[in-house]
Subunit: 223 residues, 2 copies
Amino acid sequence: MYRPLARLSAAEAVFNAIRGDIESELIPVGSKLNSEATLSQQYGVSRSVIREALRSCTALGLTVTRTGKGTFVVASKVANDLTLGQYSARDLTEARPHIEVPAAGLAAERRTPEELDVLRGIVAAMATETDPESWVALDSSFHATIARASGNRVFASVVADIRDALAHQSETLNMVADRQHASDVEHQEILAAIEAGSAENARAAMAHHLEAVGVALDSILNN
Amino acid sequence: MYRPLARLSAAEAVFNAIRGDIESELIPVGSKLNSEATLSQQYGVSRSVIREALRSCTALGLTVTRTGKGTFVVASKVANDLTLGQYSARDLTEARPHIEVPAAGLAAERRTPEELDVLRGIVAAMATETDPESWVALDSSFHATIARASGNRVFASVVADIRDALAHQSETLNMVADRQHASDVEHQEILAAIEAGSAENARAAMAHHLEAVGVALDSILNN
DNA sequence: GCTGTCCGGCTGTCTGACAGGTTCACGCCT
DNA sequence: AGGCGTGAACCTGTCAGACAGCCGGACAGC
């Protein structure tokens, strides 16, 4: 009575199998999948098919693959903010300096006294904040406020988007513990430059800060 | 001042490029991508890399690939119900008969007079309904009511899930125009069997209905 | 004890090949 | 002339084998 639909391709079948194992947590988050060669033998298909299946898992954010090491499970289910979180950590880290550094320079020249007050308040609050999530929220405000203080609506809007995306990434939180104190110091330097009205120093301080953050994120992504 | 993150693999780079073209609607929805061999030449990489990149697009629901025909753009952005819409049209069509057919049989034996009234009302409404979306909603109610009438909470729950997922798929709507009248007739036959208390006839009528729907969906998926 | 080097394992990519699905035009038959 | 089958061209799906580059650990030398 029942006629099946078109056959699944081998790659789809393997993808379904692996995805099922991951979503059922049969393969727990954090663990390493078998090597492509091993999976190839296990499923009785060529390595090309395995790679395409893993590529699907990676596209859905279930796994990450690192050259020379293997493929690792990073989530047991598909994140539902795949749409909104359209920026990858790499995209963000790469783009930030190009936007936030010039924005900091403009902010040093154009900031109002009120904006300075806000920034001082944020920096002070961060120094005593111990909860990582709250600290990240303050960090977002700090950078967003500087972008607004640049007087350029494009910078303000883009930085707001970037901060929003960053706040939704687990790497951000993982990084806080190591970077919190260092970031506080760097923030103070940025603030000082903006207070002094030195665009050059503000750009340098912001560049230094983002560089350090980028390095930290990089090491987390490749550990 | 700025050190880039780890290089993107060729497959990731090509994926980003194609995804960008799709999301910017530079490659409009409905159009066909160049063949894998052609893309291979265009991007200067091997066909394997192209296939992995396209596999990523397909995993995100941006494209579908059909053997012997090519790869087609089906969405300009990643759907945000990738999580919820965890069932593919294929999954649904494949599973439905195994659940709804026995449920119809049980419903014929266990339905209450009140449930019969509800079903009659739905069938009557569908016969005069012209708006496709409203018709689909009634269709969902019809199948869900039968599942509830089976007296088996598992069937009721599963069918509700299935109907919910189906209602969110564009293929469902595309199919209505062609199938509406035929489905109305088939629904009447199912209702008649359930009214008569004939489990055998109810199963047969439901099986026939789902078979016809499956064929229609199949032709849409492979047109 | 520390360091540097080497090796085995793994991913990233390429090449070439063949099977099977799809389309279309050409030519044959009616 | 019109319908029909058939084959050629093109496309995706899969396979096997190969090699470069990255990574981790073992092992020898200082």
